[in-house]
């Protein structure tokens, strides 16, 4: 009952408040017409007399402008009158768009001399009325020039409007200086305003050195500076020659060159010529060299008119005295005073005294093309060392219609030495002969970075220790006499699956390496002639051929094939290698003159498990098995038109397939319950969602909740103990 009465009071109050609200809103509208708070006419006057501000345009104003009280600063007009528009309605005849001519259907055009009876007046009459005393439909539909006297006299009709300015735009002044222009632009512009682009160029001093990701620079004999490029495909497969090589970022790219006329373009295409990849420029070893470039011009030693004698002494002095050079030369060459920073926590990278010009100095390197043997791609796809001698440009052989000595691949090997930058750049080329059939030509480019401290016998791991996804699986054959796993020379050619040629034949030369974590499927076509099917010996031969094609060199029967459990397993630790299992490997085959029972597929399954900490799982291979399709009848299928024109003896192709699957068999972490279990009220993990959510989201909300909880708890305690308190 008390609750009901309380509610009724509440309801009554609400009704009263609502009525009051409606009344007061009416009063407010009336008062708005009688008591304007500001005098905007003076505001515009203020604006015209205000001085231009010197506020920097990069700082947007802290408070939004209120146009009536604080108009943005504008400048006074130096001369000439300007039209003050103020509170007048302008644009009363919007359709009069031709001077000295009566615009068609424009009834308000003065050039028509009032002869508008044939017109359909299409101008929209603009009626400024903020009184809300007329229904809006009148303004939309009435074309009549007669004034409308209909008054709806609604609840919100304003009878006396003594604040007419609210119906008119403020009329800002011209902007005559750039700072207030920028201020307007920042105040009123939105993100779609198009700003001048401002990406700063890197600034280099004598103390600079290449960092990982910096572009590597080159200089040309005419002292022009460029960037070391490595072509790459971008939006299409065609090579983009402007792709910059970054310091310490290895790249491996592949892109195509489209040539239409081989005979003419063979010798003129720069990308076919090995010289364009090393000749005619030098590599800048350290970006400290550009401490000498000020405002795009080189200011080296040559600009110093009379080198002081101290300079000559420091050229033979060790690097530690380089700091003496700068003040000495600064006395004679004013530009260099701005170059050298005052703080010298470490010696500068560049010995100023040794630089005579930007191209020819100790900090530029020629690309070394003679230390590594160049390779030639033969017509059968193999690589051999090219005959020794100079690198020659492409030549066109008219007889065989071949462009010879074309660059197929460029390999850059850059040797680095910490902050000293690049110490050596080597290039190795792969050349080939190009005919019209091998166009468009696919070129490969790579750049690798070595450290000067690297030893010569480097090798790559497939993980340390757990396998990394996409790395080749380490594979080898156990040498029983030496008890060492013999690894293949190229780790990517160890554990492989078959690759089909475009015609579907099983390729024996080029096989696909199995990479960790990548499921694969491949296969090829085995061609069988029905005429040769005459007994189980033939079937046996075919089965052997199929297995040879699929397994390749990985044939597991002699049980000496092993796979490393970890990506960094050493070849000598035999215990860390697992042998490859083979299940149900077909050994024989039966058949008759029309069919053979053949196993047509090999499936490699790799079981791996994550070991180590849950936060840092390391993949470990625990087993590899070859699984074979069960033998099935392979019948020469000859049906329909294909067989009718004596094709019955033709070769028929059957698909054999090979798959690789990786199966994660990670064992879950074992859980251990310590104490004897007490009763735990199990609730779903989102049962206390709002408390937990806010607790993790914002501490202030949690604080508020905590406060509320405390108050609630106190109140509940008080009420429950009321009786005992009173008695």
């Amino acid at each position: 009952m008390k609750l009901c009465r309380c509610l009724s009071d509440l309801f009554r109050n609400f009704v009263i408040l609502a009525v009051l609200g409606v009344i007061s809103s009416n009063i407010f509208i009336e008062s708005a017409t009688t008591a304007p708070t500001n005098a905007p006419t003076t505001a515009t006057n203020n604006a015209t007399t205000q001085q231009p501000t010197t506020q920097p345009p990069t700082q947007p104003p802290t408070q939004p402008p209120t146009t009536t009280t604080q108009p943005p600063p504008t400048t006074t007009i130096p001369s000439g009158p300007r039209t003050i528009i103020g509170e007048t309605v302008i644009g009363q005849c919007l359709c009069d768009l031709t001077g000295n001519k009566c615009d068609i259907n424009c009834c308000c055009d003065a050039d028509c001399n009032g002869d508008t009876s044939a017109f359909v007046c299409n101008e929209k009459r603009v009626v400024v009325d903020g009184k809300k005393c007329y229904p809006e439909s009148i303004f939309v539909f009435s074309n009549s020039p007669a004034t409308t006297a209909t008054e709806s006299g609604g609840l919100f009709c304003i009878y006396f409007d003594n604040y007419k300015e609210r119906n008119f735009y403020l009329d800002p002044d011209f902007i005559l200086d750039i700072s207030s222009f920028n201020q307007y632009s920042y105040q009123y512009g939105n993100p779609s305003r198009q700003l001048p682009e401002d990406i700063p160029d890197p600034v280099y001093t004598f103390y600079s050195y290449y960092k990982s990701g910096d572009p590597i620079y080159i200089v040309y004999p005419e002292e022009a500076v460029g960037k070391f490029v490595i072509p790459d495909s971008s939006v299409s497969n065609q090579c983009n020659d402007q792709n910059t090589l970054s310091y310490l970022q290895e790249v491996n790219t592949e892109c195509t060159r489209v040539i239409s006329e081989l005979n003419t373009e063979c010798t003129t295409t720069p990308s076919f010529d090995a010289r364009s990849f090393y000749d005619g420029f030098k590599v800048v070893t350290t970006s400290g060299l550009f401490g000498y470039v000020v405002n795009g011009t080189f200011v080296g030693i040559t600009t110093v008119t009379t080198p002081p004698t101290t300079t000559t002494t420091t050229t033979v002095a060790p690097v530690t005295t380089d700091n003496n050079t700068a003040p000495a030369s600064s006395t004679t060459a004013p530009p260099t005073t701005t170059l050298l920073p005052i703080f010298t926590t470490q010696p500068p990278n560049v010995n100023v005294s040794t630089i005579q010009n930007l191209y020819d100095n100790p900090y530029t390197l020629d690309i070394d093309v003679s230390s590594l043997p160049h390779l030639c791609l033969q017509s059968d796809g193999t690589l051999i060392d090219c005959p020794a001698g100079n690198i020659s440009s492409p030549t066109y052989d008219v007889a065989s219609n071949t462009c010879q000595n074309v660059v197929q691949e460029v390999r850059y090997i850059l040797t680095t030495d910490g902050t000293n930058g690049i110490t050596r750049v080597q290039a190795q080329f792969v050349f080939r002969d190009v005919t019209n059939a091998s166009l468009p030509l696919t070129q490969r480019y790579s750049a690798t970075f070595n450290s000067i401290s690297d030893s010569n016998d480097t090798f790559s791991r497939s993980g340390n220790p757990g396998y990394v996804i996409g790395k080749p699986i380490l594979y080898g054959t156990l040498n029983v006499t030496t008890a060492v796993i013999d690894l293949p020379s190229d780790p990517t050619q160890g554990f492989t699956i078959v690759r089909a040629s475009p015609t579907g034949e099983c390729s024996t030369v080029s096989r696909i390496p199995i990479k960790f974590g990548e499921n694969m499927r491949s296969g090829c076509l085995v061609k069988i002639n029905v005429a040769s099917l005459n007994g189980s010996e033939v079937c046996q031969t075919i089965q052997t051929e199929i297995l040879q094609a699929l397994e390749g060199p990985n044939s597991p029967p002699n049980n000496n094939k092993y796979v490393a459990t970890f990506g960094n397993t050493a070849a000598t630790k035999i215990g860390d290698w697992v042998s490859i299992l083979a299940d149900n490997r077909p050994t024989g085959s039966t058949g008759d003159t029309t069919s053979c029972k053949l196993s047509m597929g090999v499936h490699i399954q790799v079981l791996y498990s994550n070991v180590g900490a849950l936060a840092n799982p390391q993949a470990k291979i625990i087993g590899v098995a070859y699984l074979y399709d069960s033998a099935k009848d392979v019948i020469f299928q000859c049906s329909g038109a294909f067989c009718q024109n004596s094709n019955a003896n033709a070769l028929q192709s059957f698909e054999v397939s090979q798959t690789v699957s990786f199966i994660d068999v990670s064992q879950p972490a074992t859980q251990f319950a310590g104490e004897a279990p007490i009763f735990i009220a199990k609730v779903p993990n989102d049962f206390f969602y709002p408390f937990l959510y806010y607790a993790s989201g914002s501490p202030t909300m949690f604080g508020a909740d905590l406060g509320l909880l405390v108050v609630c708890a106190v109140l509940v305690t008080l009420f429950t103990n009321m009786k005992c308190l009173l008695s």
Binding site: P440, G504, E518, N519
Partner: protein
């Protein structure tokens, strides 16, 4: 000394009458009017019984390593095709071109469910061949566990045709679930855990794309590939394969389901009681007015009279 209210509490006034009287009748009528109309109001304003509701779940999706591919070559009717189904490959013997298929499913957030599929298919081509279009069906295993235990086979369809011969086609998208009816709130739903492509069939029509699609769309639960971001690159070099690369995301999704009994009752109760409270209040005021002013005759028991009697 001003007097102020220290404490107050209400007192109970009792109205007594016979069973067969106007007052009793009125009470029954008011009771009826109090409890029944809120039910109608709640029902007529719709949504009284929440017949369907939504929930979010990460589906468990696995690429089944099964596909059916057709690549359109230059020239009328020239194509090469491949599938992981031996019967189909035997049917299309003269057009079979065996690609290299590499796929990998990543679990980025470590919840034990794959989050995306990285799929690459390298299709070897002769230098005289040019690819102008590709159609590819990828098959997925799709599982839900939160309410209804759903297991089904889903499909992603990649299709593109281009007037320029291609070197590479990149597809980036996500595999989305589409349902024609709400899922159940419990039970096992394995109606559609059947093959979309009948790989045991030796009939060409079973591998016809329109037939596959017709049968697939007839299912109540399907998946589709939402991939607006695709790039067709041209300029294939000599001896290079055509590469199709697809990155397919498995997103968390909103599912419609039919809620269970207690869920319906809970939300029905919440809606009914909120209206009932208003009615209880109004009719309580009416009852007070009627009985206080003796519009129907009752015997009034006033508490202070009893106290007087006691004294």
């Amino acid at each position: 000394m001003a007097v102020y209210e220290v404490f107050s509490h209400p007192e109970l006034r009792r109205y007594r009458t016979h069973l067969c009287s106007k007052a009793s009748l009125l009470l029954v009528l008011i009771l009826f009017l109090t409890f029944i109309p809120p039910l109608f109001i709640v029902y007529r304003s719709y949504g009284f019984w929440k017949k369907t509701d939504t929930y979010r779940e990460y589906p468990t999706i696995h690429f089944k390593n099964e596909l059916l591919m057709v690549a359109e070559l230059e020239g009328e009717g020239n194509y090469v095709t491949y599938s992981t189904f031996q019967r189909y490959n035997a049917l299309e013997q003269s057009h079979i071109r065996i690609p290299l298929i590499v796929s990998r499913e990543e679990d980025v957030n470590g919840d034990g469910k794959p989050d995306n599929l990285i799929f690459t298919m390298e299709l070897p081509l002769l230098d005289t061949e040019n690819i102008y279009g590709i159609r590819l069906i990828l098959l997925f295993d799709y599982q839900l566990a939160q309410f209804s235990t759903l297991t089904m086979e889903g499909m992603a369809y990649i299709s593109h045709d281009n007037p320029k011969s291609g070197a590479r086609y990149d597809v980036v998208g996500e595999l989305r679930f589409s349902q024609k009816e709400p899922l159940g709130h419990r039970g096992v739903e394995s109606r559609y855990n059947t093959s979309i492509i009948d790989s045991t069939s030796i009939y060409a029509e079973d591998y016809n794309f329109p037939n596959i699609f017709k049968n697939y769309v007839a299912r109540n639960f399907t998946t589709y590939l939402n991939a607006p971001y695709t790039v067709w690159s041209t300029g294939r070099g000599a001896d290079q394969p055509f590469v199709l690369s697809a990155t397919i995301n498995y997103p968390e999704q909103l599912f419609d389901y039919t809620p269970g009994f207690w869920y319906l009752i809970k939300w029905g109760w919440v809606q009914y009681v909120s209206v009932l409270l208003l009615f209880l209040f109004i009719f309580d005021r009416i009852k007070v007015f009627i009985y206080q002013n003796q519009l129907v005759t009752t015997i009034v028991d006033k508490p202070w009279k009893q106290e007087l009697k006691l004294n």
